[in-house]
């Protein structure tokens, strides 16, 4: 088991290095000369040359990559062109809304999707099953901002129950925080719920066909404890895999959701950076989200050992 963990960590390290390389390549291929941008309009050719030498921009590609990677490992993501602030600081300032949004969405998605999937599997072939599956296909097809605007239209503008836009920090009170996040999380969560419900149903149907389920039924256990105690635990591995992979959808969707609901998070930071062509911020965000995605999936992989003791590798 220890060997497996080590091997898995090694593979993660390789993947992270490839990601870092790809992101550096993007930075390297960025149009425009950073030295010329920094030097300003009044600079002479000599000034630009000096700055280029000072920043090491005239070094060979691999030397620059090594230097950039070294800085990255020390938590240096570079400096924003527009605000001249370190990218790490900008990300730090914006991380709370994004974390709040994604964690709440994840919670809502799991709480809704897994029971929905179990229900569909338990009632396989009935109208309940078909309704869940129909919702799943539709939920997968409607873009997050269309759902978001529909929710705002109904719950904020028509019914006036929830705020249209904005974000309140957790420190301003739990209720205010939650009120501002209900619609964004629901919009962002729909596609994720569709995905998880579908795989939960499929995985549960597989397990429910096993002999030990019939045994459990034969010895008179009630349906609830069979579904949750016996079936769900054994169906957990594929579900966890999809939860991990689906994080990618969540990250992409969060950028859009923050734009629609004017949430001042990392997504907003990214969109502003795109409009201003502030490349270091875009690279930093890609690195941050990809790193998080890789680590979450590492955690998911390692969690298999908990759900399925047979997995020892």
């Amino acid at each position: 088991m220890f060997a497996y963990v080590i091997r898995r960590l090694g593979a993660t390290l390789v993947v992270m290095t490839v990601v870092a390389f790809v992101v550096f390549l993007l930075l390297y291929l960025t149009p425009g000369d950073p030295a010329a941008i920094l030097a300003g309009d009044a600079a002479t050719g000599d000034d630009i040359k000096r700055i280029r030498e000072k920043l090491g921009l005239d070094e060979p590609f691999l030397v620059r990559f090594a230097g950039w990677l070294w800085a990255l490992l020390h938590g240096d993501l570079g400096t924003s062109i527009f605000t001249n602030l370190p990218v790490t600081r900008l990300i730090e300032q914006r991380i709370e809304p994004t974390l709040s949004l994604t964690l709440l969405t994840l919670t809502i998605a799991l709480v809704v999707a897994i029971p929905l999937g179990i229900l569909a599997a338990a009632k396989a072939g009935t109208w309940i099953d078909r309704a869940v599956m129909a919702f799943s296909v539709v939920g997968f097809s409607v873009p997050v901002f269309v759902i978001a605007y529909a929710l705002i239209l109904v719950f904020s503008i028509e019914l006036d129950w929830l705020p249209v836009q904005g974000y309140r920090s957790f420190s301003e009170g739990f209720w205010e925080w939650l009120r501002h996040l209900i619609l964004p999380s629901t919009a962002l969560g729909t596609v994720y719920i569709a995905l998880i419900a579908r795989i939960t149903r499929a995985s549960m149907l597989d397990v429910l066909a096993q002999d030990y389920i019939r045994t459990a039924q034969a010895k008179g256990l009630d349906t609830g404890s069979i579904l949750v105690g016996h079936a769900l635990k054994n169906a957990a591995v594929p579900i966890m895999t999809i939860v991990g992979i689906g994080i990618a959808l969540l990250i992409g969707g969060a950028i859009v959701t923050e734009t629609v609901f004017a949430i001042p998070g990392i997504g907003r930071l990214t969109v502003d950076a795109i409009l201003r062509r502030d490349y270091p911020i875009i690279q930093g965000v890609v690195l941050l989200f990809s790193g998080a995605y890789v680590l979450i999936n590492l955690a998911v992989d390692l969690s298999y050992m908990f759900f399925d003791p047979r997995i020892r590798y």
């Binding site: 790809v22 873009p143 605007y149 890609v286 989200f289």
Partner: protein, 292 residues
């Protein structure tokens, strides 16, 4: 005589019967296919569908609600939203289909090679793992930030983000197929590698790739809309569904229809493509059909 007339079977053409049969077995796929065909027809025949120039501004007719004259209303520049949405079908569908074809072609080429050439496999798959670790929308955003906004660049950026998943699929298919007796027989008979790939492996990857292609197409249309919506996609002067909705962002509270109509069209088209994909997958793999 009357009895005989009633009992006589109505003549049904074989094509129609086959269609009804397919419909009974995969109703969702057929419905999806029909909706998709209608959308493609709308895209092709856009100029003949009662549209006016989607770019024509008309300052005195700004932000009109949907009416008999302006079916989907007008936007903040007085442009006819119906015309823009109809022409938008061209952009969104072409991008979806182009991304599907491009990423399948590239992914197929890479996947075939990695499945057969062992030393290439290790390197290429690590690179693919790395690319897959960057959420697709984010990778497309980063690529679009590098280049100028154009339809070609949008297609390339989204396709690049989709390629690793296609490579994975092709590679796994090839690894299974190369163990098949007929491939071993071909190898034993001294058939050259390119010939084996083209004659024996390639035809067997087509069905799963067709299914994968529809999913790529669906997700590409959504990604295009997302990119355009946040200002990193199709150039703003081209009326894609994403762009129409992006322009309506600040006007949403007074002119919700600006988002409603393109949003509905996009959702409906993506839904149709997904249903078609699900249906084809079920038809190709009946074992899976009962579960998913």
């Amino acid at each position: 005589m009357a009895d005989i007339a009633i009992a006589a079977p109505r003549s049904v053409s074989p094509t129609w019967r086959r269609f009804k049969d397919a419909f009974r077995r995969h109703p969702t796929a057929i419905v999806g296919g029909i909706v998709l065909l209608v959308m493609i027809a709308i895209a092709i025949f856009a100029p003949w569908l009662g549209t006016i120039d989607p770019q024509a501004v008309s300052p005195i007719r700004r932000l009109r609600q949907p009416s008999a004259d302006y079916w989907f209303g007008t936007d903040m520049l007085g442009r006819d939203v119906y015309s823009r949405v109809v022409f938008g079908a061209r952009v969104s569908l072409s991008i979806g289909i182009a991304v599907a074809i491009l990423s399948i072609a590239v992914g197929l080429a890479i996947g075939l090679v990695t499945g057969f050439v062992r030393w290439a496999d290790a390197i290429v798959m690590r690179v693919m793992d790395g690319l897959m670790s960057i959420p697709p929308v984010l990778l497309a955003i980063a690529l679009m930030a590098l280049t100028k906004a154009s339809i070609e660049n949008v297609v390339a950026a989204i396709a690049l983000a989709e390629v690793p998943r296609v490579v994975r699929l092709v590679r796994s298919l090839v690894l299974t197929l190369r163990e098949e007796p007929y491939v071993e027989a071909a190898v034993a008979a001294g058939t050259s590698l390119p010939r084996i790939l083209v004659r024996h492996i390639l035809p067997n990857t087509m069905a799963p790739l067709l299914v994968q292609g529809t999913y790529v197409c669906a997700s590409a249309m959504i990604t295009e809309a997302i990119l355009s919506f946040i200002g990193a996609g199709t150039p703003p002067n081209i009326p894609s569904w994403g762009n129409i909705m992006a322009e309506a962002r600040s006007l949403f509270q007074i002119a919700g229809y600006l988002i409603l109509f393109p949003g509905l069209c996009l959702s409906l088209t993506v839904l149709a493509v997904n249903m078609l994909g699900d249906g084809m997958r079920d038809a190709l793999d009946p074992r899976l059909a009962r579960r998913m």
